[in-house]
Every structure is written in structure tokens, then in C-alpha cells.
């Protein structure tokens, strides 16, 4: 096997081990952050709304990291965007449709 082969395969199959380990470290830190945010909310240091927004943001960042690097979107995006964009739009629409019952009802109290 030549180095060219390795390089070629590496290019086709996603980021390298180093990138994976960095993402792993980031995911671990983010998990810890959401745990700490929850603790702060329980202590009353931050409001439940702030902790909800922060924790959900952390979850979205973690999901984005997994999709981008572990699921190889960083190399496959151009081949698959048409699937994911549609799913993303439909999923967002579903959440928006459900929101009046979930959020507005609660606001009304």
C-alpha cells in the first residue's frame, strides 16, 4: 500500500483519528457543561429559562459535531444535503406546528 492510497482513502472516509479524538474531547466537555448548567439552575444561580436555552444549545452543538465529523458530513454533505435539508425543514415545521400547544399554553398561565 502506498501513502497515496492511505491519503486517498482518508480523504474519502472522513476526518482522521486526531480529529475524532478532538471531537470526542469536545463532546465530553459539553456533556459536563450541560451537567454543570443544570446544577447552577438547581442552585438558583441561573433561571430555568436560561438553563433551558443554554442546555439545548449545547445539545445542538453536540449533535452538529457528531453529524459533521463522526457521520462524515464534512465530506458527504454535497452528496446528501438534499435529503437532510428536507428532513430538517420538515422536522422544524413539525416543532413549529406543535409549539402553540407546548409553549403558548404555558405562557398563558
Amino acid at each position: 500500500m502506498t501513502t497515496h492510497d492511505v491519503h486517498d482513502e482518508g480523504g474519502h472516509h472522513g476526518p482522521g483519528v486526531k480529529a475524532y479524538l478532538i471531537v470526542f474531547a469536545a463532546l465530553s466537555v459539553f456533556t459536563l457543561i450541560s451537567f454543570v448548567l443544570n446544577y447552577l439552575a438547581r442552585q438558583g444561580t441561573i433561571t430555568p429559562h436560561q438553563s433551558f436555552a443554554a442546555i439545548l444549545t449545547v445539545a445542538v452543538i453536540k449533535a452538529a459535531l457528531v453529524v459533521t465529523f463522526f457521520m462524515h458530513m464534512i465530506v458527504d454533505w454535497r452528496k446528501l444535503y438534499y435529503l437532510l435539508v428536507v428532513a430538517f425543514i420538515l422536522a422544524t415545521m413539525m416543532m413549529i406546528v406543535l409549539m402553540p400547544d407546548g409553549v403558548l399554553a404555558w405562557r398563558g398561565q
Binding site: 492511505v6 445539545a59 463522526f70 435529503l83 437532510l84 413539525m94 406543535l98 407546548g102
Partner: protein, 294 residues
């Protein structure tokens, strides 16, 4: 090794520069995204739409949910995501043995996740945090159902204390006596406790027992407890079924490896299994904060 570069014969199909298997896996994952989005959306309606300031959504402590277990399980799944992606990486570098080892580690981590999940489910079972078992709206006919349940559980606790201290069992006996008292006894009229009063005494018994380290199985009364339990078991249960599916696949791969039938030709398959496993990880990344934290 000239053949190294022809592992994936570029089969042309409808202009998509993508192997069929990978496209199929992504199509499947897209349906899964919609499936879990619907579940999460419905959960958010229940979570935000139903509770009031007087009757809030159950706190983790009320329903014996330990945030730490959830966080550990998140970490375990993240680790398993790394091992499966490294297994794929190893296979692209023709390191079949290392890939097999990493798949083995992934399988073990998945089993750890399921083990912790089982411990959590056991805690729900032990404390009767199950859909339909929890006392709610006790001033309606549901209160009578709650009385029936608690009466049965008190009888069981008294008949078979399971190592609970005498003081706890005495309290259970006292409550049972009050609930089954013959209202005409002694000529005087002693009303039996109402469902709300029973719930108060059950709460007291459970708190005392917890302080002493005793265990007594009595259904608590928690506003929206049944709704919480339904959401919890449906969402974590469906997620656990997905984890189980992944574990079966990893087990199959290890079996194939043991029979010497696993090799570089399975690289695409490992990538697809990895996609599925990462998706399961992502679902948990959202379920953990939604169920345990916010």
C-alpha cells in the same frame, strides 16, 4: 497492492455519487429523525402545556431519576461512538484485527449503557413510578383507584417486609388499619382517611423509610407523575430498542470475525452501522437534557 483502490467499484446509479447502502441508511435515518422529532415534540407539549404553578412537572428527585446516571450514560454512548468511528478508520487502513477489537469495545460500551438503563428502570419499578400506578387527581374517582392500590401494597409490605425496619412496617400497619377500619366499630364513627390524606401519609412513610435506608414499595402521589412515567418509558424505551438493535449487529459482526468472515470488504457496512450508531447517540444527546435536566 493495486486492488486496494478498487474496493468500491464505482457502480453508477442515477447520478448519485454514493453507494446504494449508504443512501439507504441515510434515507432510513431521515425517517428516524422524523420519528424522534415527533416524540420529542409531543413530550414538549406535555412538559410545557400541562403543568401549572400549583401542580408543577415532576422534579427528578420525585420520580427517582438520577441526573448523574443520565450524564454517565451520555458519556458512555459518546465513547462508543468514538470506538465505532475508529473501527471504521482502522478498516479503511486494512487493520482488520484492530477494527474487530474496537467493535468489541463498542459492544461492551453499549452493554454498559443498557446496564445503567436497567438499574434506572429497576429504581422506577421498585418505587412504583409506572404509568397508571401513581396517585393523581385524588379528588376524582381516580382517588378510589389509588386507595385500592395503596391498600394492596400495604398488605404486601406488612406480610413480607423485605428487611424493612419494624418502625416502617408499624407505620404501614397503622395506615392499613385506618384505611380498613370498620367505621361502625366501637359505636363511634371514625371516617376512613380520604385519598388525599392517604397520599400524605404515604409520602411521610416513604420519606421516613428513605431516611432510614428502608425500602417499602408504595405508590406515591405526584401531579402529572403518570404522564411523566409514560413519556419517560416511551422515549427511553424506544431509544433502548435502537441501542439493542445496534448491539445485535455488533454481536453479529464479532461472530463473523470469530468465524474469519470479517474483513476489509465490510468497510462500507461498518460505515453504515456507524451512521446508525451515531444517530442513536444523537437521539440520546437530546433525550438526556430533555428528560433529566430541563
Amino acid at each position: 497492492m493495486a486492488h486496494a483502490v478498487v474496493e468500491h467499484p464505482p457502480t453508477p446509479h442515477m447520478g448519485l455519487p454514493l453507494p446504494n447502502g449508504k443512501l439507504a441508511m441515510w434515507l432510513f435515518l431521515v425517517t428516524e429523525i422524523m420519528f424522534f422529532t415527533a416524540l420529542i415534540g409531543v413530550y414538549m407539549i406535555f412538559r410545557n402545556g400541562t403543568p401549572t404553578t400549583k401542580e408543577p412537572w415532576p422534579k427528578p428527585h420525585d420520580v427517582h431519576l438520577v441526573e448523574f446516571y443520565g450524564a454517565i450514560n451520555t458519556f458512555v454512548l459518546i465513547c462508543s461512538s468514538v470506538t465505532v468511528v475508529l473501527a471504521h478508520w482502522a478498516l479503511t487502513r486494512r487493520e482488520v484485527k484492530r477494527a474487530t477489537q474496537l467493535i468489541g469495545v463498542t459492544l461492551v460500551l453499549g452493554c454498559v449503557f443498557m446496564g445503567i438503563k436497567a438499574v434506572e428502570y429497576k429504581a422506577k419499578w421498585d418505587h412504583d413510578i409506572l404509568p397508571g400506578h401513581i396517585g393523581e387527581r385524588l379528588d376524582t374517582p381516580l382517588g378510589q383507584q389509588y386507595l385500592e392500590r395503596v391498600r394492596g401494597q400495604l398488605r404486601e409490605a406488612v406480610a413480607d417486609p423485605h428487611g424493612a425496619s419494624a418502625a416502617t412496617i408499624d407505620e404501614c400497619q397503622a395506615l392499613l388499619d385506618a384505611m380498613t377500619a370498620d367505621t361502625a366499630a366501637g359505636g363511634g364513627y371514625t371516617p376512613r382517611p380520604t385519598p388525599t390524606e392517604v397520599a400524605e401519609r404515604v409520602k411521610h412513610i416513604l420519606e421516613e423509610a428513605e431516611a432510614k435506608g428502608d425500602h417499602v414499595k408504595l405508590a406515591p402521589a405526584i401531579p402529572f407523575g403518570n404522564l411523566w412515567a409514560s413519556c419517560y418509558f416511551v422515549m427511553t424505551g424506544l431509544h433502548a430498542i435502537h441501542v439493542l438493535g445496534g448491539l445485535l449487529i455488533f454481536g453479529g459482526i464479532l461472530l463473523a470475525a470469530a468465524m474469519g468472515k470479517f474483513g476489509v470488504q465490510h468497510e462500507l457496512m461498518i460505515e453504515n452501522v456507524g451512521l446508525y450508531w451515531h444517530f442513536v447517540d444523537i437521539v440520546w444527546i437530546f433525550l438526556f437534557p430533555l428528560l433529566y435536566l430541563v
